[in-house]
Symmetry: C2
Amino acid sequence: MNAPQSPMDLALALAEEAAANGEAPIGAVVVENGKILAAERNRMQALGDPTAHAEMLAIRKALEVRGTGRLDGCDLYVTLEPCAMCAGAIAHVRLRRLYYGADDPKAGAVDNGVHLFAQPTCHHAPEVIAGVGERRSRSLLKDFFAGLR
Amino acid sequence: MNAPQSPMDLALALAEEAAANGEAPIGAVVVENGKILAAERNRMQALGDPTAHAEMLAIRKALEVRGTGRLDGCDLYVTLEPCAMCAGAIAHVRLRRLYYGADDPKAGAVDNGVHLFAQPTCHHAPEVIAGVGERRSRSLLKDFFAGLR
């Protein structure tokens, strides 16, 4: 019998599924009081849409499921530090907490780049917990991009 | 006989339509070589989705119509300065030019806030032309928010 999967384990499994489908390995899960509202992965190639990041898809799905027009009180688990687009979306929907795996010095916008949530113009900043599942996330990303070369 | 409508006139008409439907008045149009690929407006209330900004909807629609997975060579006309989420999306899809109407000192991320396109971590920056249709855009926004008070 397997132990129940943590939200980050599920996000990592989705990242792995993304890689198996030729997508950059990133997964995202939205949780409310221990209940999973949405679990999505990167679908940029499949949808021909460079905005189809795991976080954006998970946020839209969770909004649909919840039906309140907001995700306050909900937490997002994502395997890679969100970019500016996704960080902006996180602020718009008022997510309570952001757990992320690997940091992204090139495109990250939370603890790198524009540090969006630390800006005075940012109208909502979630609590941020970095480094959850970092090692496995980084290894999936490294293998994927090595395979592309 | 009316003169042909410019893309920004169309975006402003969509902003007006948004206001008439109880949405913040913002419209966005994607154009390629004079051809309109997408014309959308804010639908946050209707969709119960705070990420349903006019720009995001227009970008996704234009990607769908074009089918190339990018919007390089295309231009976006939007009545208000984009936020960080939308500016991030603009960079991801590699839009050529961004024309916007009113600036947004509170939530704008192009010439205000994080100045996303000026950051060293920004992988693509469109040419930016600000102030197109500014007066009408600002007047629509002012009337809408005055009506909410």
